[in-house]
């Protein structure tokens, strides 16, 4: 490829990225506005909270216990070298509350509920259900997109909190019950180390931001999917990939800005 052709391809690629970002921004604003104004679709919102929140509970709780248990094991083995194993509660708690709880929950929810949301919306597009709504003068963004996105935004911080609590419980199981650490030390170092304004609030904000990101990305990929079965699967797959990368990248910036 000649240098001029390479330059043209680079320019076209860059323009496509900027165009897509612009479309995503306009779409996101429309979706957030639709979610923030009446009519309030309470029944649909509850159903969506069940789909994206309640149905994610089992994997979030099991993963939380597993991650907490691994942290307990690794943390105990490391802390023993320095004679500081009584600080295990603080190590497990801070790691989960600040980072692992919100980040891993976001990755899990993107994989389960985010992909399902993108696939469902894309499949509604393929089967003309979205056009059917338009023909009834019902805005699909308002009727389908807003309840799904709102449900995910509300569910994510709660799921992240549950992940963290089950993780702390997993760390306790390994550190105290299996390895024989002191229960009082585990809980008291946890209590001393964790501050609400820095750690808990930061974790909740991360959960909220990740919820917004995953919801907007899943809805955007669903609504802009190609109307074919390949388009449905591409919407689901790209949602998981883009939402996971967006979670990890934004995690860095939130951490830096929050002043940890």
């Amino acid at each position: 490829m000649s240098p001029a052709a390479s330059l043209r391809a680079l320019g076209a690629g860059s323009l496509a990225v900027v165009r897509n970002l612009g479309r995503f921004t306009v779409f996101s604003l429309g979706l957030l506005v639709a979610g923030g104004r009446p009519p309030w679709r309470g029944r649909r919102l509850l159903r969506e909270i069940y789909d994206s929140g309640v149905l994610s509970l089992v994997i979030v709780c099991i993963s939380g216990v597993a991650v907490g248990a691994v942290l307990g094991l690794q943390g105990h083995n490391t802390l023993v070298r320095f004679g500081a194993e009584e600080n295990l509660g603080a190590v497990v708690g801070l790691a989960l509350i600040r980072e692992l709880g919100p980040v891993l929950t976001s990755l899990l929810v993107a994989g389960r509920a985010g992909s399902a949301m993108a696939a469902e919306i894309a499949s509604m597009k393929v089967t003309e259900q979205l056009d059917g709504l338009r023909m009834m003068s019902v805005d699909p963004l308002d009727f389908v997109g807003a309840p799904k996105a709102t449900a995910m935004i509300l569910s994510m911080p709660l799921l992240a909190t549950l992940f963290t609590l089950f993780g702390i419980f997993g760390g306790y199981l390994v550190g105290v019950v299996v390895l024989g650490g002191d229960a009082g030390s585990y809980l008291s170092t946890l209590q001393d180390a964790v501050r609400f304004s820095d750690d808990v609030a930061g974790g909740l904000i991360k959960g909220l931001v990740f919820g917004v990101l995953v919801a907007l990305i899943a809805a955007y990929r669903g609504f802009t999917a190609q109307p074919s079965s390949a388009g449905v699967s591409a919407a689901a797959t790209s949602t998981v990939v883009i939402a996971s990368v967006a979670t990890l990248v934004s995690d860095y910036f939130i951490t830096a800005l929050w002043g940890y």
């Binding site: 509604m124 089967t127 003309e128 259900q129 056009d131 059917g132 709504l133 338009r134 023909m135 009834m136 003068s137 019902v138």
Partner: protein, 260 residues
């Protein structure tokens, strides 16, 4: 007049100079035709001739590259603002080829949706309206069923019930006879004729089901090579050899006393 389907101010539609290209394929090239007020017009033509495309242009689900679609000689649907388009669509019912019923909602909720969204009716009145339309289209005991639990013919009738619930002035039907057995085709034909007689709404039906077209069409529009041949059905069959060629099988041609 059927009380459940009482009407209406039928709409006249005029398509003028429509051009539409998809990729490198020219689908419409200066297509012009009129769909007369209160009549059953059937859009016929070979596969890929642009029947569904024209129907979707009239519904403003896609835009022509050039040309205009005028409603009652005035507004061009492609130029309508959001509010005018919503108001226009409130006057239009559309039966999609696959029904386009929302698959997460019961058949009753699907048909009741336009009333719940746009009317001030209470739940008891909505129930009454929905059941009156169910009766008109010959559906019973389907309230709690999901669309996936219906047969193909029942899906079409449920889709038609939803299209009729707001007493439209214009009814658009995309391939209402496709994929159905002959008795069901006959039932749908009778139903459409009954609706037209009861309601008086302008009806546009796309079909490549030759016999049904000849049975129900007052007005025929044959799409060929990007243009339209249109007129009263009997007149066209007698006078235009291209129409006779398209519709009438050789043994039937003599019987119909048409041009070869």
């Amino acid at each position: 007049m059927d009380a459940a389907l009482a009407v209406a101010r039928p709409i006249e539609i005029e398509a003028r100079g429509l051009c539409y290209t998809r990729g490198t394929r020219v689908i419409m090239e200066g297509l012009s035709c009129v769909f007369p007020r209160g009549r059953i017009s059937v859009l016929a033509g070979p596969s890929g001739s642009g029947k569904t495309t024209l129907l979707r242009m009239i519904a403003c689900l896609i835009q022509p590259d050039r040309g205009a679609i005028r409603i009652d000689g005035e507004a061009d649907v492609a130029q309508m603002g959001a509010a005018a388009l919503r108001a226009f669509r409130r006057r239009v019912g559309m039966l999609f080829q696959g029904g386009a019923l929302l698959d997460s909602m019961s058949v009753f909720d699907n048909v009741a949706l336009p009333l719940r969204e746009h009317s001030e009716l209470g739940e008891a009145q909505i129930r009454g309206e929905v059941h009156r339309v169910f009766e008109a289209v010959g559906l019973e005991a389907v309230d709690d069923l999901l669309p996936g639990q219906l047969s193909g013919g029942m899906v079409k009738r449920a889709g038609l019930a939803r299209a009729l619930i707001e007493k439209p002035d214009l009814l658009l039907c995309d391939e209402p006879f496709s994929g159905l057995d002959p008795p069901t085709v006959r039932r749908i034909e009778e139903l459409l004729q009954h609706v037209n007689e009861s309601v008086g709404a302008t009806m546009l039906i796309t079909s490549h089901h030759t016999q049904s077209t000849l049975r129900i069409a007052d007005h025929l529009v044959l799409l060929q090579d990007g243009a339209a041949i249109s007129g009263a059905t009997g007149e066209l069959l007698r006078e235009d050899p291209r129409v006779a060629e398209f519709f009438v099988e050789p043994p039937l041609r003599e019987r119909a006393n048409c041009a070869p």
